[in-house]
Assembly symmetry: C2
DNA sequence: CCGCTCATGTAACTGGTTACATGATTTA
DNA sequence: TAAATCATGTAACCAGTTACATGAGCGG
């Protein structure tokens, strides 16, 4: 809870240049990978991801790429096939350095964190359930992970070929699943689930 | 990318009752654990968490608890010690069932996902760095995990005593760290880092 | 009495969401 | 030719962010 004082009513003189959001940087990366590519391609790539972090909605992506273009991180150019309009984007040199700065090192504070797991968030309050509800919870959580596994594999099959780093992402997904299963196992075994 | 059609200009007749956000439900849980407790306590609990998911800012929490109270999920009552104002909240029965519904099962879609890891997001684009930058990246990532470990331990020491389920959360944190270290190791060993 | 923590908020903004809308092209 | 998918957007909304602000109580 920081409290950085500032002269009331005034905006800082130094260019504010609002920090890029996590999604903006991620999109920068996706464009970089698919150069040149359209906003729609970005949306598709986001939508097929096994992560629920972003919704890939048109209302998020179109204004976002427009923003990045205005800032000079992307350059877009219209291309039409027949009567179909299509605007394709590539990274500018500034866009590439913004991407590299985000990837790090150094990492910004948002990256220094435990992973976010919605199941963990919920588990924290399992004391609010009855013992039998807790058993059902663990069972359902296992099924959820099975479901996630299908998504991870599907994603992996589609991407591992193009790019060696995609394999690392799939590996992360698989190890993630293994670890969360082990975690569920530990606590089904422990007394907390009783 | 769903496209559920709706008669233009009209709002659905069925009570919209906007779904509670993840943060709202999480706060419901925190209040439940600390009943009765003030918004400030919630903020502190959020702030000391090793997760960067939420900022615990006053601007988020005060309006949020007010919202939950208006909806009848929390009931607050003023208490003053001397001249110091303090508003303490507890869950209403409806608040408790909202909490239980969120914990699940069943899980809402947001919970059916791989964990979100900012390092994984960045790793996806490591091809944009030079090999030596990648080596530095892996090194920095390891240090980041050391830092996170300190945070997790600190949190664990503070909470494990009160509540058996807090231990599960700490366990999750520790297993998470172990898995991400192993992941970094695998890929430092692999050819992708070269 | 100074500075820190406790405690409660508000104001302005903005990024992302849901939902709408439109028209071209492909496929069954 | 109807339905699905490609492709691009916009409008309204709102949750959460940053920053400001205030004042009580406490330790040195």
């Amino acid at each position: 809870m920081p409290r950085t004082p500032r002269t009331p009513g005034s905006t800082p003189a130094t260019t504010p240049r609002t920090r890029l959001s996590e999604l903006e940087c991620f999109v920068l990366g996706l464009v970089w990978q698919g150069q040149p590519c359209a906003a729609y391609d970005i949306r598709r790539r986001l939508a097929e991801s096994p992560s629920t972090q972003w919704s890939a909605s048109a209302g998020a992506i179109y204004p976002l790429v427009a923003r990045l273009e205005r800032r000079g991180l992307l350059k877009g150019r219209a291309r039409r096939t027949g009567k179909r309009a299509r605007r394709e984007y590539s990274l500018t040199p500034r866009g590439l350095s913004a991407l590299r700065a985000w990837i790090g090192p150094p990492f910004d504070d948002a990256a220094i964190t435990v992973t976010h797991d919605p199941l963990r968030s919920r588990a924290r309050f399992l004391a609010a359930l009855t013992p039998s509800q807790r058993k059902a919870w663990v069972r359902a959580a296992r099924e959820t992970l099975d479901e996630v596994e299908r998504l991870v594999r599907a994603w992996g099959e589609r991407h591992t070929s193009d790019d060696p780093f995609a394999a690392l992402v799939t590996l992360h997904g698989e190890m993630d699943l293994a670890f969360r299963r082990a975690w569920l196992g530990k606590f089904a075994a422990g007394r907390a689930s009783k």
